[in-house]
């Protein structure tokens, strides 16, 4: 399948007097980072596949302000936030799906106080709901019995307490989930958060992503499942550090689901 999916912008729908049922918030990584774009495309295919009326903000979307806020630039964060809120409120957006847990956390938790109240759903939760509602099924069993390990991102896990939805997706894929030694609430960070990914790490004995990749490699899983474009970058760099990129694939849950559906 996957021929010529058209992803409309909210403005485009607005011109026709329509509003999308869900806004797909792509995020900066998902928009610009070459690897993360694949996650974005996988998610767009899933949304098209289930036939929900969705749209993106396109060029009207800008950074949520998360990295600025975590780096201490509250001014810049609030300017970004209020710009985004003005645009989304202008279009009457009510429901947002995003593939980035940082965007998810910021829009869900920090935007309401600034006037942005939406039903914000991380794509792993959304996919799990689709599965529960029978809207998404997996016939092919590409990942049946395959050893997969799952990395909890900090902003989905500890920050928002979402541990089960991603695991239930893996269960549905019939994969053999091998938990990391440090998982769920004790999951080790990939090293990207708090604006770390935009700078060199402070002096230390090891890079955090190398430590995490090492732990993931110990599981002997052939797929590392992630839910965050920044974890994706960090884990892939970690795997490359050990020259294991031919043996191990780092994939977002959206990609796993899209692959399993031949999307």
């Amino acid at each position: 399948m996957s021929e010529n999916i058209h992803v409309p912008t909210v403005a485009e729908l607005n011109n026709k007097g329509e509003t999308p049922e869900v806004l797909f918030w792509v995020g900066c990584a998902g928009s610009f980072d070459e690897r993360a774009q694949k996650i974005t495309k996988a998610m767009a295919k899933i949304l098209a596949h289930i036939g929900v009326k969705f749209a993106i903000l396109g060029k009207e979307e800008t950074c949520t302000g998360d990295p600025a806020k975590r780096a201490g630039n509250e001014f810049l964060f609030q300017m970004q936030a209020m710009n985004n809120i003005a645009i989304m409120n202008g279009y009457g957006i009510t429901k947002i799906i995003t593939t980035c847990p940082h965007c998810f956390n910021t829009i869900k938790n920090e935007y309401p106080e600034l006037g942005g109240n939406y039903d914000v759903i991380h794509h792993t939760t959304y996919i799990q709901e689709l599965i529960d509602q029978g809207k998404l099924t997996f016939g092919k069993g590409d990942y049946k019995g395959k050893k997969i390990t799952y990395h909890d991102s900090c902003y989905l896990g500890r920050a928002n307490g979402i541990y089960d939805a991603p695991r239930r997706i893996l269960e549905k894929l019939d994969a053999e989930l091998v938990e990391l030694k440090r998982c769920k609430a004790k999951g080790l960070c990939c090293g990207a958060g708090g604006a770390q990914i935009f700078k060199e790490a402070e002096n230390g004995s090891k890079e955090i992503n190398v430590e995490r990749a090492e732990e993931a490699l110990e599981t002997k899983a052939s797929v590392f499942a992630a839910n965050c474009p920044f974890c994706m970058t960090m884990l892939r760099d970690g795997v490359k550090h050990f020259n294991k990129e031919d043996e191990v694939e780092v994939l977002d849950l959206a990609e796993l689901v899209a692959n399993a559906n031949d999307l």
Partner: protein
């Protein structure tokens, strides 16, 4: 009996002298404790105001679960069990301390004894607890100094913090031993029918200490019993007064500190309200208040810029180091240690408190950045492993972010790469230097 009239008078006299001394000792101990706790309260209130009085039912629930129920200790089972011994022992043996205080004031002996069977059960339970506390403390010392568990030996633990821990554990061992020895001599006196030592209590543990004391005469044993009794209560009162100087103060602050926990999702950082209005004015939004006071300063340079809850966190910290041992930056050899952030905050609050005690103002030309370096602050990934790990809901991340805010918005001292990221967000709407027009380019590649 053998005691003649004069010795009865002498006994009564000694009794009254003991009561007077006891009341004075107790009053002095309570006074100094109250004074030092008031100072800590004053130091905590040096922080700026923040409302943490909403949602009372949830707050009580959190306190009962996390502090009273020790729910977060369970993540590490062995210390959870040992700490459980000491904690339950501490709470329940305090009932016996209450009896000791009443006896001390009124010259009674084992005033709760008329409870009969219940009293016997209680005393035997306390004896077993005392042994468990003893075992707990010995094993804690073993873990710290023989097994050398790494989290007890980070650089910030050098000097006083380690001495503090040792004093606490040894004192508890000595106090528990005193209870048992007191009970051992008491039961011999009870058995011999010595005056004033009515038959009371049952002693499943201290009965085994009886052979050590059995050969002494009754009058010597009375002296022993009194010495152990006084040693125990004075030890407890001294320990009480040690608390405000020690990390062990957590036994008190754990309760209010969890009550005032941050109830928001861990990922949610509070928005700075004064900035919201500034931004609204800049953007010409209709609900901006043009008459609102512009913000005076941004972020935290010193503890007076932090919230009172941040400072309460720092006084609650018992330096267990779970935060630091879970911190990804610390685990990979970076300078950042969340525990040190808390210890530095407390030490700075103490430093300013001492100035106030001396009648000086708060301007000593120093600030919290003299304690916490930029290198530490910029190593944080905001992953919340530290806040998750803390058994008493302390939040080092909140302090780190406020100090970053000061560095960025007041001093413009962000690392260069972060300044570039800010510029990109401002100009391109993304943290990287990609043209905003390419943002939806991917849709053409589907």
């Amino acid at each position: 009996m053998l005691l003649g009239f004069t010795s009865i008078v002498y006994f009564r006299y000694m009794q009254i002298v003991q009561q007077i001394i006891f009341v004075i000792v107790l009053a002095v101990a309570v006074y100094f404790f109250y004074r030092n706790v008031s100072k800590i309260r004053r130091n905590i209130l040096l922080g700026r105001d923040e409302d943490r009085t909403d949602n009372k039912p949830e707050r009580w629930k959190t306190m009962l679960k996390v502090a009273f129920g020790q729910s977060k200790m369970a993540a590490r089972p062995i210390p959870a069990i040992l700490h459980g011994f000491v904690y339950v022992g501490f709470i329940l043996i305090n009932i016996e301390v209450l009896e000791i205080i009443i006896d001390g004031i009124f010259g009674t002996h084992r005033v709760f004894a008329p409870l009969g069977k219940l009293y016997n059960v209680a005393i035997s339970f306390f004896e077993i607890l005392a042994v468990l506390v003893l075992i707990g403390c010995v094993l804690f010392l073993t873990r710290r100094f023989i097994n050398r568990i790494p989290r007890f030996h980070n650089p910030e633990m050098k000097g006083w913090p380690t001495k503090d821990a040792t004093i606490i554990l040894i004192t508890e061992i000595v106090l528990m031993a005193a209870i048992l020895k007191m009970n051992a001599t008491d039961q011999i006196l009870q058995a011999r029918g010595a005056e004033h030592y009515a038959q009371a209590g049952s002693f499943p543990v201290s009965q085994y200490l009886v052979p050590f004391f059995d050969s002494f005469s009754t009058s010597t044993l009375i002296v022993f019993e009194r010495v152990f009794w006084w040693f125990h209560i004075i030890g407890i009162l001294l320990f009480l007064n040690f608390l405000p100087y020690s990390k062990h103060f957590h036994i008190i602050l754990a309760f209010p500190n969890t009550y005032y926990s941050d109830l928001k999702p861990k990922g949610q950082l509070g928005n700075i309200g004064s900035i919201t209005n500034e931004v609204k004015m800049m953007m010409g939004m209709p609900d901006a208040d043009p008459n609102a006071e512009p913000p005076v300063s941004f972020g935290a340079k010193d503890i007076t810029d932090l919230t009172w809850k941040n400072i309460m966190d720092s006084y609650t910290c018992t330096e267990c180091g779970r935060c630091t041992s879970e911190c990804p930056a610390n685990q990979t050899g970076k300078l950042l240690s969340p525990r040190k952030i808390m210890m530095d905050t407390r030490d700075r609050a103490e430093e300013l408190g001492k100035r106030l005690d001396a009648g000086e103002d708060l301007n000593d030309g120093k600030n919290l950045l003299d304690y916490i370096s930029k290198e530490e602050l910029w190593a944080c990934t905001s992953c919340n492993a530290c806040t998750e790990a803390c058994p008493v809901n302390i939040n080092p991340l909140d302090i780190i972010v406020q100090m970053r805010q000061y560095l960025v918005m007041e001093k413009a001292e962000a690392p260069n790469e972060l300044n570039m990221m800010f510029t990109n967000v401002e100009n391109n709407g993304a943290p990287w230097q990609f043209p905003a027009s390419d943002r939806d380019k991917w849709i053409t590649e589907l």
